[in-house]
C-alpha cells in the first residue's frame, strides 16, 4: 500500500478517511466500495433466505428473517455431509503437501547448486511436466490407476497431484536456492558437513520462505481440486468436499432455495474462514509464485 503518501492529505468527508485528491477520489472510492459489495453479496444474500421455509421465501424473499430456523441447515448438512468431505479433503491436501514438497526441494537444490551438463538435462526433463496440462493425461492416468487399484482411494488422488505440482515447485525452489549466497554452503562444507548435512542442516532451513509458500499454495490447490477427484473417485464415502458440493448441485438443484442457501453457506464457510485467517499470506504467496515464475 502507498499509505505513506496520505500523510500530507487534506481532511475531508468523515473524520478518519483522508481524501487527498478531492472529488475524483470520492467518486473512485464509491465505485470501488460498490464493486467490493458486488463481490461480497453472493456470500451474504444466502443468509436472508436460509432461515425461511420455502413458502415464506416465495412470498417474502427479501424481508429480514424473523426467527432462527435450523431445518434448512439440517437438511443441507444431511445432503452434503460436508464433515466427511472435509476429512477427506484434509487428508488429500496434507498428502499432497507431503508428497510434493520434499521431492521439489531436493531437486530444486540440486539444480541450483550442482550444475553440470547432466543436471541441466535433468532439469529440462522435469520442466516438461510444467508444459503438460493435467487434462492431456487423464485417460492413461485413469487406466493406470484402475490397473494398479489406486483409483477410488485418497492416495490415488494426491499422488498424481504431486506429480503435476513437482515441476512448478522445483522451479520455485531452484530459484530460491540460487538466491542464497553460496558462501554459506561452502562454509558448511569446509566445516566437514557432507552433501546431505549441508542441505538438511544449513540450506533447507534457509529456504523456509519458499517452503511456507509451497505449503499454502499446495494446500489450496489440493483443497480446491475438482477435475481429478471427479474422474478418480467413485465411492461416495471417499468424496471430497468439492465433489459433495458438485453432487448436491446436480441432485438437488435450486428449486428449494432456502435449503440451497444453507448448502451454499455450509460449503463456502471453511474456505472463507481459512481466507479470513490467512488472506495476507495467501495473497503474498500467490504473488511471489506468480512473479518468480
Amino acid at each position: 500500500m502507498t499509505q505513506a503518501e496520505n500523510a500530507a492529505g487534506v481532511r475531508r468527508g468523515s473524520k478518519s478517511v483522508r481524501m487527498r485528491h478531492g472529488a475524483p477520489e470520492v467518486f473512485a472510492t464509491i465505485i470501488l466500495v460498490a464493486l467490493a459489495l458486488v463481490v461480497v453479496l453472493p456470500f451474504i444474500i444466502p443468509f436472508l433466505f436460509v432461515f425461511k421455509t420455502q413458502l415464506e421465501f416465495v412470498y417474502h424473499p427479501w424481508t429480514l428473517p424473523t426467527r432462527i430456523l435450523w431445518t434448512n441447515f439440517i437438511e443441507a448438512w444431511k445432503a452434503v455431509r460436508i464433515d466427511r468431505g472435509l476429512v477427506n479433503t484434509f487428508i488429500v491436501s496434507i498428502g499432497a503437501i507431503i508428497t510434493t514438497l520434499p521431492p521439489s526441494a531436493l531437486a530444486g537444490y540440486v539444480f541450483a547448486r550442482y550444475r553440470s551438463r547432466a543436471t541441466e538435462i535433468a532439469f529440462y526433463a522435469i520442466m516438461v511436466g510444467y508444459f503438460v496440462p493435467a487434462q492431456m493425461v487423464l485417460i492413461p492416468l485413469y487406466k493406470l490407476e484402475v490397473a494398479s487399484k489406486l483409483n477410488d482411494t485418497l492416495y490415488g488422488l494426491f499422488l498424481p497431484m504431486a506429480a503435476f505440482g513437482i515441476p512448478f515447485w522445483t522451479l520455485i525452489y531452484r530459484s530460491f536456492f540460487k538466491s542464497l549466497p553460496s558462501e554459506l554452503a561452502e562454509a558448511a562444507r569446509i566445516d566437514g558437513a557432507g552433501h546431505a548435512g549441508t542441505f538438511f542442516r544449513v540450506m533447507l532451513p534457509l529456504a523456509n520462505p519458499a517452503t511456507v509458500l509451497a505449503l499454502i499454495l499446495v494446500f489450496i490447490g489440493a483443497w480446491s481440486d475438482y477435475l481429478l477427484s471427479l474422474i478418480l473417485l467413485s465411492n461416495q464415502e471417499h468424496f471430497t468436499m468439492q465433489l459433495r458440493v458438485a453432487s448436491f448441485l446436480s441432485a438437488y438443484g435450486t428449486d428449494r432455495m432456502p435449503r440451497y442457501a444453507a448448502a451454499a453457506i455450509i460449503s463456502a464457510a471453511p474456505t472463507v474462514i481459512l481466507y479470513i485467517l490467512g488472506h495476507r499470506w495467501i495473497i503474498q504467496g500467490t504473488l511471489a509464485g506468480a512473479i518468480k515464475e
Binding site: 500500500m1 499509505q3 465505485i31 470501488l32 467490493a36 458486488v38 463481490v39 461480497v40 453472493p42 456470500f43 444466502p46 424473499p61 427479501w62 508428497t99 521431492p103 531436493l106 531437486a107 547448486r113 550442482y114 550444475r115 535433468a122 526433463a125 522435469i126 516438461v128 511436466g129 508444459f131 496440462p133 487434462q135 492431456m136 493425461v137 487423464l138 485417460i139 492413461p140 485413469y142 487406466k143 493406470l144 499422488l159 506429480a163 503435476f164 513437482i166 489450496i220 475438482y226 477435475l227 474422474i231 468436499m241 468439492q242 458440493v245 448436491f248 448441485l249 435450486t254 440451497y260 442457501a261 451454499a264 460449503s267 474456505t271 472463507v272 488472506h279 495467501i282 495473497i283 504473488l287
Partner: protein
C-alpha cells in the same frame, strides 16, 4: 529462465582450485533427483506416451485396441461438439482479455492511486472469490442466475419486472455462455487485480511526484505513466487467460454441464464426455493432444515474451 545456462556451480568440484575427487557427489545428486523422477515417470511421462499412443487407436477401455492411424484427429474436425468447444474456448479467451483485464487495470490503479482507509482493505475482498474452489463458485453462481428463485429472478419478481424474472439465464442457449462467463469474471478478476497492484506499487514514488508536479494527475497519470509500465505484466496476464481458457472445465461443467445442448461446451468438457461418459478413449486422447499442442504454443509465446523483456523481471 535460461540466462545462467553458461555459469558453473561453485560447489562440489566445479571450482577448479581444489579438484579433490568427491565420491559422494554423484550419488547425492542421484538420490536427490530420484523422488521427483519417480513421480514424473509414473504419473506423467508414461501417461504422456500413452496419450499419444491411445490417440492413434480405437479403444473403449474394454476389449482390444485397434490401430487406426490419424482417424481420431480427422474425425474431430467434423465433430460438432468438438468444434463448439474450440469456438467457445477461443471466444472465452478473447472476451476475458477484453473484459476482465481492463476492469482489473481500472480497479488496481484506483486502489493504489486513491489509497485511503476505505479502499485499503478492499484488495483482500477482491481476491476472496478467487480462492473459492470452483464447485463453490459454481454454487454461488447458480444461486444468482437460477430460474424462478435465483437472486436476479426473485429481485425482478419482487419489483414487478416479470420480463426479467422469466429469463432463464442458464437454460437459454443464447445466454448460458454469458452467464457462466459473468460468474467467471466475478470469481477470477481478483488475480489480475492483485498482480497489477503489486506491479504498480513497484513504480518509484518519485515518478509519481514528478508526474504530479507536471500536472499529470488521475486519469492522465494512469494513461501516460502507469499503463505503459504495465505492458509486460498485461501481456503475461493475457497469455495466462488464453492458456486458462484452453483448459477450461470446472465452471462450465458444474454450472451448466456444457449445456444446454453444446452451448457451453469447452475442449475439457468434450474430453470428459468422450472419455468418461461415452468411453471413447481414442477420441478423448486425441482431444488431450490438441489441448496440449495449443497450450504449449501459447506457453512458448509467454516464455519468449519473457526473455525478450527479461530485464524488466524482478
Amino acid at each position: 529462465m535460461s540466462d545462467e545456462l553458461g555459469s558453473v556451480g561453485r560447489l562440489g568440484g566445479g571450482s577448479g582450485t581444489k579438484r579433490v575427487r568427491d565420491k559422494t557427489r554423484a550419488p547425492f545428486i542421484c538420490l536427490c533427483l530420484l523422488p521427483a523422477f519417480l513421480f514424473l515417470a509414473v504419473f506423467l511421462y508414461y501417461p504422456i506416451e500413452e496419450t499419444f499412443r491411445i490417440a492413434l487407436t480405437k479403444s473403449t477401455g474394454m476389449g482390444p485396441e485397434t490401430f487406426i492411424g490419424l482417424d481420431n484427429y480427422a474425425k474431430l474436425f467434423t465433430n460438432e461438439e468438438f468444434l463448439a468447444g474450440l469456438v467457445h474456448v477461443f471466444s472465452w479467451a478473447f472476451w476475458s482479455v477484453l473484459i476482465q483485464l481492463p476492469i482489473a487495470f481500472l480497479v488496481a490503479f484506483s486502489l493504489t492511486f486513491y489509497a485511503n482507509k476505505l479502499t485499503g482493505p478492499l484488495r483482500a475482498i477482491f481476491y476472496l472469490a478467487n480462492v473459492l474452489p470452483s464447485a463453490i463458485t459454481a454454487m454461488l453462481g447458480k444461486f444468482i442466475f437460477a430460474p424462478r428463485f435465483g437472486i436476479i429472478a426473485s429481485l425482478a419478481n419482487t419489483i414487478g419486472w416479470k420480463w426479467l424474472g422469466s429469463i432463464d439465464f442458464l437454460g437459454n442457449p443464447k445466454l448460458a455462455f454469458w452467464s457462466v462467463f459473468t460468474i467467471a469474471t466475478w470469481a477470477y478478476t481478483g488475480f489480475p487485480i492483485i498482480y497489477l497492484m503489486a506491479r504498480i506499487e513497484q513504480i518509484p514514488k518519485e515518478v509519481r511526484e514528478a508526474a504530479e508536479l507536471d500536472g499529470a494527475t488521475g486519469w492522465r497519470y494512469a494513461r501516460s505513466i502507469v499503463l505503459p509500465d504495465l505492458g509486460y505484466p498485461l501481456r503475461i496476464l493475457a497469455v495466462l487467460c488464453t492458456v486458462g481458457s484452453l483448459k477450461l472445465f470446472d465452471l462450465p461443467n458444474l454450472v451448466t454441464a456444457g449445456g444446454p445442448g453444446n452451448a457451453t461446451v469447452t475442449l475439457g468438457i468434450t474430453l470428459y464426455r468422450d472419455g468418461f461418459i461415452n468411453w471413447n478413449y481414442g477420441k478423448a486422447a486425441a482431444i488431450g493432444v490438441v489441448i496440449f499442442v495449443l497450450s504449449l504454443g501459447f506457453t512458448i509465446a509467454q516464455f519468449s515474451l519473457g526473455s525478450r523483456r527479461g530485464g524488466e523481471k524482478t
